[in-house]
Amino acid sequence: MTEPAHRRLGMTDDEYAAVIAILEREPEPAELAMYSVMWSEHCSYKSSRAWLGRFPTEAPWVVVGPGENAGVVDLGDGWLAALRIESHNHPSFVEPYQGAATGVGGILRDIFTMGARPIAVWDPIRFGPLDEARNRYLLKGVVSGIAGYGNAVGVPTLGGEIEFADCYSRNPLVNVMALGLLQRDQLVLSAASGEGNVAVLLGAATGRDGIGGASILASASFDEESGAKRPSVQIGDPFEEKKLIEACLELYERGLVVGIQDLGAAGISCATSECAANGGMGMDVDLDAVHLREHDMTPGEILMSESQERMLAIVQPEDLDEVLALAEKWEVDASAIGTVTAGPALRVFHDGARVADLPAASLSDDAPMYRRPAARPDSLDEIWAAQPRLPAHVDVGDALRGLLDDPALGDRSWIYEQYDHQLFLNTVVEPGHDGSLLRIKGTQKGLAVSTDGDGPRCALDPRRGGARIVWEAALNVAVTGARPYAVVDNLNFGNPEKPEVMWQFRETVEGMSEACEALGVPVIGGNVSFYNETDGVDIHPTPVVGMLGFCDPMPASPARLDRAEAGMGIWLLGPEDLDDFAASAYARIVLGASGGRPAAPDADAGAAVVARTIELAGWCPVLHDVGAGGVAVAVAEICIRSGVGARIDVADWRELLNESPHRVLAVLPNRGDPSDRVPVRRIGTIGGAAIDFGDHGAIPLEEAAQIWRNALPRRLG
């Protein structure tokens, strides 16, 4: 029973027929390999493309929207910012250290491919519960992989996110986002123009790394069989990447590249065909010129190899010598492997023989596109009906003992203190607050960034959940004084061949789009990761949003969590929904209740709160958006970080633990009053040695701090 080659490569019979129609003949082995990977879910977005068009992508400041390696926005005075997010979920499950490390390497290449210097990384990550040793091993491996690669390559990691849920036990999520900065005239695109120009392969030698990794690991479910499919693990080399970054940036500075493309999934075949297709040209590629790590590699292997730390630069023949000399200075290997032709053919030669000859554009443009059936889950109405049953009275002090001990709510410094988060001397608000804030030296400009996701809430209502993470991210940057400026999204979902999963996907895109429209922020890029399913069990629909905020000028002394002082007033901005407990931390962690329907965001109120928060950031010492754990946890975080207690007076305990959206805590000297246009009320005063909720209980500050600080260390050692 020998399965036909195309099926073994994960290609359907119809897709195979399409290849034959394009070539008007049976494909050669190398050609089949190229189509199989380029038409995989991971590379072609065949199940998602039809719906991603819903995202709003336009704004006057958008320079490069979705489709390129990274989105680019205009910051004025010649400055541009590049942003991109990617997932490395399956590789990180196979080998957490290397999976996460190579994820960082890949996202950085997406950034400097645009001509930008990468200046920061974020790591939204998700695992199963930490009482399982395997999950502890995965978390430690992923965090040290991000630290090991990010610190050594010399790009600071300025934050991220972490969540825990059973559905991530066999399928952890490791997303990585990177931000780059460049001057307008340095912008480069991945297009090969100019017949006769030379394609130069820069960086690491090509070996048998992750052959078919992209297609097979990221495009098929992860079950016992995949042991067999498992590609050889890729080893990240941050040193090679660092040299590559410096070499490429100098190439751009000297104006030596016409176009450039990083090598990721499908390696040389993807990079050469995309460069050619984007430039409306063709290319002749000579595989004998490729510098190999292992000899005796087949043409297919060389074409498909996903060896890390490689770039393909298109240069003019007269510049070739200077390019090679510059590569040598940086101790980066370089070889001229191709020539741009009038096209449209991509022709690949090996040992003098032609091993592939196909229309370059067909690998991307002719990829299949599926409008897979979507169906609302039958169980939905029951789930929505099952609102968490709330007790009449709650001791909020006790509730905090449980909430602050949750590894996703407690102090995350165990993670981010393993990351260099200060390099480049730009970090004004470091990880440990809401959004992180960077300055742009030599200007008044500031960039604020936050990554946010919420698996449990999106599982209950993907549309509202998807919208709410966008609103939360907007507030996380607003508290630093920055206005929401651009969004990238990472859509982590289960098996798209299941109608329920497709429904979740479409609902999520709709919800995120509505929120972005209400905020007037364009989506400038994203990534889709399907087949996050293990043994038939899908993960929660888990969209993750990366929000870029921009301020000019930046507040002189931006709000922080640790600037509260005795006597200052505590104010709550924003609308209130006392019953929004579905998927709240209190319901999940204290009550163990999983059902209900989260409240819908309110576009007008939300936009008003964001606007007012940005104004307050100019003069409030402390601003903190209310997220998981509600007002109680937000107050506790401010008290613990500032080393002083607080007295809170509210009528109903639900005001302290509900998680209705669009709310911010402002702490300010008594004369101040933040009210203006948005609902605001004073709820208490900073001071004392306890976090005291009056009739609703209290907890000594020291005890709260202890519990909060130990939440991760006591589990991870």
Binding site: A204, A205, G207, S232, V233, Q234, I235, F239, S307
Partner: protein, 80 residues
Amino acid sequence: MIFRVSITRKAGLSDPEGVETHRALHDLGYEDVGEVHFGRIITLEVAGDDAAAVTAQIGEMCERLLANPVIEDFAIEVVE
């Protein structure tokens, strides 16, 4: 008894540290040096007299903690 565990990266996986050290040795003029590969040694003192039994136990330690079976091979020798 004292045991020595040698842990080396599986063949075919890249070894950036080996590559850079190879480059450095050549810069220092040692042109005869070919491939360079890195690994770790862990020496363990373990109470017990049945070498075979202890070796088996150390194999288990390697699988669980000392080595990373996905990308590394290991070998165990009795030193004394």
